[in-house]
């Protein structure tokens, strides 16, 4: 009996020990519910995420609220979804949009947001090293959302719904620009598309029928296109010069250098990231500057429009010929195949839609 009391005293004394030290500065661990987004087996086994920003249900919900909220822009008129629209697989249908707060036309085409969790570098040149850091680009660029981050944090802090959701997601209602970016990144990593007719065909599921011409298109695609548009991500996550231009302006801090502006390597000038071809039917116009309105124009470029420069991809200059040797007939079959990459579940998924 008494023994128990002594053990208790001894235990309590030991528990008192931390009280002598400085209080721990760490925020309380979030009670938020960890989860792993569902990912179809032909794409990957799990969705990658940075160690400091794991998926939580509350964090993804918060990210979705922010993604669709115009409060994120300086004039409170633009949200992320203004240029990344779900029905267009999170692209905008414009070559170079002018809807930013300054009204000035952008110099690059808004990319579709598809399977970003697996991308090594973001933006057309891969300059953003992760989705969290990327967010501050469009948020603060004067020709995009033009937001002052300190003001944004104050605006969010003034709204009860955000104080509540930040507390649920991060264990504190002290909002910071870092947590805004982390929530946005969690949501954007759930923009997973791998449920097209092609995917069902690959997985042998019902609804996975490909017609004869589409199958022929797939074979042609694998022969001529899949070296860069590789794997079921339909991108090699790398940078190539696909022969759009032969000179590269140094104007605008050498923006036209593409990857070369980031790597500061001569051999990368004129290279851009291989975009995924998933939902390509929905994401016109095409290329980093949206110069091609249709897939026909894109494939005509590869057939007959490729121009030479030092960094031109070796795949596009084989046997002394520029471009890809395909006939008009083959071009049509390739486009038929590309159209099987449209994922209706993705563009209609309620979990990814505007919550307001």
């Amino acid at each position: 009996m008494h023994l128990l009391r002594y053990i208790t005293i001894a235990s309590i004394s030991m528990l008192l020990l931390p009280a002598c030290n400085e209080p721990d500065a760490e925020a309380p661990a979030p009670q938020a519910k960890r989860f792993s987004p569902v990912v179809p087996g032909n794409l990957a086994t799990a969705v990658p995420y940075p160690e400091h920003n794991p998926f939580t249900e509350e964090g993804v919900t918060l990210g979705r609220m922010l993604f669709y909220d115009p409060v994120l822009s300086a004039n409170n008129e633009l949200s992320c979804a203004s240029c990344h629209q779900q029905d267009k697989a999170f692209s905008d249908g414009e070559a170079l949009t002018s809807i930013g707060v300054s009204g000035k036309q952008l110099k690059r085409h808004a990319p579709a947001l598809i399977n970003l969790a697996w991308m090594k570098g973001l933006f057309w040149d891969g300059g953003a090293k992760d989705i969290e850091s990327l967010a501050f680009g469009p948020l603060t660029h004067p020709d995009e959302m033009g937001q002052n981050l300190k003001e944004l944090v104050l605006e969010l802090q003034s709204q009860e719904k955000y104080r509540k959701q930040f507390r649920l997601a991060f264990g504190t209602d002290t909002i910071t620009s870092a947590r805004v970016a982390q929530a946005l990144a969690q949501f954007q990593r759930t923009l997973i598309s791998a449920n097209s007719r092609y995917d069902k065909y690959v997985r042998g599921e019902s609804g996975g029928h490909l017609a004869e011409q589409e199958l022929q298109g797939m074979a042609l695609f694998k022969q001529h296109c899949a070296s860069c548009h590789a794997t079921d991500f339909f991108t090699d996550n790398s940078y190539h010069n696909n022969g759009l231009d032969s000179t590269y302006s140094e104007d605008f801090e050498a923006l036209a250098f593409g990857r070369g502006r980031i790597s500061r390597q001569q051999q990368d000038i004129g290279k851009y990231k291989t975009p995924t071809l998933r939902n390509i039917q929905l994401t016109a116009p095409y290329m980093h500057d949206g110069r091609f309105a249709t897939l026909e124009e894109v494939l005509d470029h590869y057939r007959t429009g490729v121009t030479w420069s030092v960094s031109l991809a070796p795949e596009l200059q084989q046997n002394g010929n520029l471009g890809i040797p395909i006939t008009q007939e083959e071009k049509k079959k390739i486009i038929l195949f590309l159209n099987t990459l449209t994922d209706e579940d993705f563009v209609q998924n309620k979990a990814l839609s505007n919550p307001y």
Binding site: H2, A128, K129, L134, F136, G137, N148, L149, T176, Q182
Partner: protein, 248 residues
């Protein structure tokens, strides 16, 4: 019964030091102290004044400074035996002529220190993502969004050179330009005797433009990454900062 008594005794013995550790004893030598680091910016021999004052660069150009900001990070104190004794946790300080010009090193173990080690810039582990807080918060406008990373140094102003004039825009970053330096204290600090010593750290803007690389504004007046800024990074790791005084 006897066994139980012995066991009780052992338990009390075990518990006692934990209870006793909380008591204050004024006669004891302090276990830890605080060291304040104060920063003063100068140009040559004059104190730095933003906008108003005109200075002469080591290459003989005249210039003004409208903005001076830089990161001091990974601060350590080194004891008399050359061993690092104190490592500041979460050590990132955005120093700014019109902002933070002092910081405190807390819970420094009571020892004697002869040197301070610090870095200019943000280490690679923290330089590849910008969703960070405190002095690394991207709202401090020391980040590149189009090419993820921190501006280690932001030095802006205007110049009149031998052949031309214009703006100075030096935003220096990139992992290669992260520089770690060790500075000798003019006299050692002993935290067993001094509870709150202050280190006076002086930064001379002109040292950004010389030693080893003389920067001529007619040739170089801007830069972010790459070879030009690396010349300035070599300069700021060499003579830009020094400890001029230890105040008790």
């Amino acid at each position: 019964m006897k066994k139980t008594t012995i066991f009780k005794f052992i338990l009390l013995l075990l518990a006692f030091p934990f209870l006793a550790a909380c008591s204050d004893d004024d006669d004891e030598v302090p276990e830890a102290g605080t060291v304040q680091v104060n920063i003063q910016h100068i140009v040559g021999s004059e104190p730095l004044q933003l906008n108003d004052a005109t200075y002469t660069s080591p290459a003989g150009d005249t210039y003004t400074v409208s903005d001076l900001k830089y990161y001091i990070s990974n601060v350590k104190l080194i004891g008399s035996n050359g061993q690092t004794v104190y490592i500041e946790p979460e050590s990132y300080h955005l120093i700014s002529q019109d902002g933070k010009l002092a910081f405190e090193l807390l819970d420094v173990p009571a020892n004697t220190y002869n040197q301070i080690e610090l870095s200019i810039g943000v280490d690679e582990a923290h330089n590849h993502s910008t969703d960070q807080e405190g002095d690394l918060d991207p709202s401090n406008e020391m980040v590149w969004d189009w090419d993820t990373g921190y501006k280690f140094v932001s030095l802006m102003g205007s110049y009149t050179g031998d052949t031309k004039s214009g703006f100075l825009v030096f935003h220096i970053g990139g992992d290669a330009n992260f520089k770690t330096i060790t500075l000798d204290l003019p006299q050692p600090i002993d935290l067993r005797k001094q509870t709150n010593p202050e280190l006076m750290l002086q930064a001379d803007v002109n040292e950004m433009f010389q030693g080893p690389n003389l920067i001529d504004f007619d040739v170089m007046n801007s830069g972010g990454h790459g070879a030009g800024p690396s010349m300035m990074a070599e300069n700021y790791s060499n003579g830009f900062l020094k400890i001029t005084e230890v105040k008790q």
